[in-house]
Symmetry: C2
Subunit: 152 residues, 2 copies
Amino acid sequence: MQMDAVDQRIIALLVADARASYAEIGAKVSLSAPAVKRRVDRLRSTGVIKGFTAVIEPSAVGWTTEAFVELFCTGRTTPAQITVATRRHPEVIGAYTVSGQADALVHLRAADIGHLEQALERLRAEPFVTSTRSMVVLSRLVEAPTAIPLSS
Amino acid sequence: MQMDAVDQRIIALLVADARASYAEIGAKVSLSAPAVKRRVDRLRSTGVIKGFTAVIEPSAVGWTTEAFVELFCTGRTTPAQITVATRRHPEVIGAYTVSGQADALVHLRAADIGHLEQALERLRAEPFVTSTRSMVVLSRLVEAPTAIPLSS
DNA sequence: GGTGAAAAATTGACACC
DNA sequence: GGTGTCAATTTTTCACC
């Protein structure tokens, strides 16, 4: 899809604050509120903006434990299989196929270590998983929303 | 902070759609719009809701390459040092200290492989980094916003 | 792309429990 | 502490140019 510098700035402003009003955004990009809305509607319908979400402090909702788990899979495992399998587990908040020794990297979030262990066991029970390697998150140092290159 | 089931449901609804109106949310949790707003204001001021953001398709804004990099650091490296160092690099969209062989895991997003390589070189140049192990993301299978346990 | 008007949402004041 | 109702203001969302 075609996007100009104004679209990029609107996106950056919405990433910074998804509840900013169109008038507020318009003031910063020198556009009227309706013009901003039309652009945002277009960005949404073309899939550039996938949605709007609240950023939550995980510990506040009872998720205190995170881990990254490398999956080593059997030879014939497809990304689709991994997708289906990982989506089944509510603890999975991210999953990626990767280059390197592992086949996939899975990001888990659980209530506590016990819950994490349980989720990990379930994941390891998937038929295509041959082995795993876990990294439990000790502290989140950086966690930024999708950064947008600012075209100044 | 103290949170009841209604707060949890409001949070879940805002994670699903940060631009939902208070009246719309109120209809789903059986509360008036002002009551919802008061709760949201409280959740924001207490840091449970850290903010609202737009979810962007990374490829649409020119970020086509992602990687996870394990950092192996010198013995006396502190999390604070890693935080400061990783925040300097705009390509870092996540950083965590982890248990296991590596000391930290860094999530990078770059325009292309060349850009990623460049960012990786800069990261490896940090004085406390002894070695790295990279996993380039081949495909994003799952990428969910902070999942909230639904108290049904 | 802007303007203007109607509809809807936000926000604060107030009473109530 | 919490809620709902009401009114003023602001925002959204249409027309139409």
